[in-house]
Amino acid sequence: MSTISAGVGATPIPIPVDSRPVKGNHPPGMSRTCDTTGLPVCLTAERFIKLNAVAAVVFLLVGAVAALLLALTRWPAVHLLDTVWYYRILTAHGLNMLIFWIIFMEIGILYFACTSLLGSRLAAKGFVVASFALMLSGALLTNWAVFFTGKADVLLTSYVPLQAHPAFYAGILLFAVGALLGVIAFFTTLYVAKRDRTYEGSVPLVTFGATAAAIIAVVTILHGAIALIPAFTWSLGWTGVPDAGWYRIAWWGLGHQSQQINVTAMVSVWYLLGTLSVGAKPLNQAVCRGAFVLYILFINLASAHHILVDPGVGASWKIWNTSYAMYLAVLASLIHGFTVPASVEVAMRKKGHRKGLFGWLFKAPWKNPGFSAFFLSLLIFGFIGGITGVTLGTQQINIIAHNTLRIPGHFHATVVGGTSLAFMGLCYYVVPLIFRREYPMRWLARLQPYLFGGGILLLSMGMSFAGSYGVPRRHWDVEFSGAQFAAGFDAGAHLMLGILGVGGVIAFLGLLVFILQTVWAVFLGQKIENRPMTPW
């Protein structure tokens, strides 16, 4: 028995400490040691991290081509697609980006966080295999429904009584069950690692953050089941039409909450990339972990923001859900927004970059795409995504923002400029460390985060400002040509839509560079064997 201190000035509380030796639980021949980080790598986890990453990038490509077509349609001077294909491609874009690309990546991140960081093997292999098989078949089934039945142009939200082909719902449900199995494998591995004592003391911060994301994922998937199972049985003709207002509340328990998985996973990736790129170390782990706990407890309330101008929920419900605990989740983001850059600053100052207030920032490794993607993600998410999100969540401002382009202007800054960019930064380490291949044309990789981040910034600003004129989101023709009564917008709104288009094209180029580089690296890149990766 020994004791650990429980806080500043507090009397140490005796806590029983496990004194068994720490050792890995990998079966013989099923692990290797990373030549760069020295971390143990479970070969089962490695295989499934690879599979998840490859699937993620394939769906990212589908979503990216869709994104380009959409940007070129919303740009009024181009107005590329016809009306049917605009809504079809919009449906595909939302599904492939927001669900398939991001969640394949996140399940891979969970496998990494519970194995390498804990020195454990990946447990529940049957679940892991079933998880990947179900996620892949679900994603393919839904894409088939969208592209080949012609009966699933319902957009990501599939608001009832708008009805899709049953395969549309079935695919999403299969995908969700698959993701849930992956999350169960993660929790099982946490238990096995603790039982086998593969690590000492508390879990690392990145694993803690991943656990928070996994807990939010379980709650999210349950909401998804509540919304989509009745919609699925209705599409088969087995049950009546679900109530439109009730569906919206349940669906946003899925729709917004899944973005909170992204936020939490992204913040974990920030901490990971901070460590990998500059050796950053959090100032106070209790603060960082406490902020993750705030996410688990309070972030789900942001789902109410989608219902602020709905009928059926009263004013007190709206005031309650926009005020009290929402700000405890905002507090969590404000805390991470301080601790993440602060940890980078401390690490940089330790390396001798002490000049002035911001000398550490100028000397940061801006040529390392893992670092630049991470830091740009932090800036875009915090300053554009976070501030617009809190603003739109105000009851009164929501009246002038609901269903306008201000909404996608907000979430392209959070989930694309924030999460997707951070995940791209992660790939600049996943490919050399897990696939053990070097990136080709490194100068292009160094440029990529700036190209993509800059494009998304323009796109997001164009959307937000166009939306402030009242330009609707999810709308094929803001000239309303052919409508019975004329309506439309002035030149200012059109300028903003043009900026949206230009930003979309630039972001697409940045995305294309990322995808081509990564695919090239994975299949044809120079192999890394028995040596550390070439530092960025």
Partner: protein, 174 residues
């Protein structure tokens, strides 16, 4: 390091700049939380979400009675209806039209009942830029007082099928 187990004794209160930042952030969050009810009671523009259950058939019947009682004209085959100031008005959203055209008086307050008879729709008033969600099965009551004269467009901003962009309507204020 974030990727290694933290050293023993990591569970400690924050200090220095970190402590100050958390204090400031918390204070700001408390102010914003209090601002939410404040704005609701002090501000003039709120979505109260007042709504009643209604079927599509019942609602269409109310709209037809309303049009028959107060119709004052017609534009492109759509009736123009002028409800008495302070009374209830009805607006039907369906694929892909807003029916009828409402004619209101500046400075008078109306209770506008809006519902959909098919899919979900979005009420978007231009160029004011005011937006409300319209659902089938819900009679959404918007209590409004026009504060300026003129002709206003209503567009649909919730996806409702391929004719979504054709769905426009009008409110006249004099």
């Amino acid at each position: 390091m974030s990727i290694h187990a933290p050293e023993a004794g990591w569970l400690r209160a924050p200090g220095g700049g970190e402590r100050l930042w958390i204090g400031l952030a918390l204070a700001w969050c408390v102010i914003l939380s209090l601002a939410m009810p404040y704005w609701h009671f002090k501000g003039k523009q709120n979505s109260t979400g007042e709504a009643y259950r209604v079927t599509a058939g019942e609602f269409m019947e109310r709209v037809n009675r309303f049009v028959a009682a107060y119709q004052v004209g017609e534009e492109k085959g759509v009736p123009i209806v002028e409800p008495p100031p302070g009374s209830d008005a009805y607006l039907q959203a369906s694929m892909w039209r807003w029916h009828p055209i409402l004619k209101l008086k500046e400075g008078q307050t109306y209770r506008i009942h809006v519902s959909s008879t098919d899919l979900q729709h979005g009420f978007g008033l231009l160029p004011m830029n005011m937006n409300f969600q319209i659902l089938p099965g819900y009679d959404h009551v918007l209590t409004i007082t026009p504060t300026s004269k003129g002709e206003f467009s209503i567009v649909c901003n919730e996806f409702c099928g391929i004719g979504h962009h054709l769905m426009t309507g009008k409110i006249l204020v004099d």
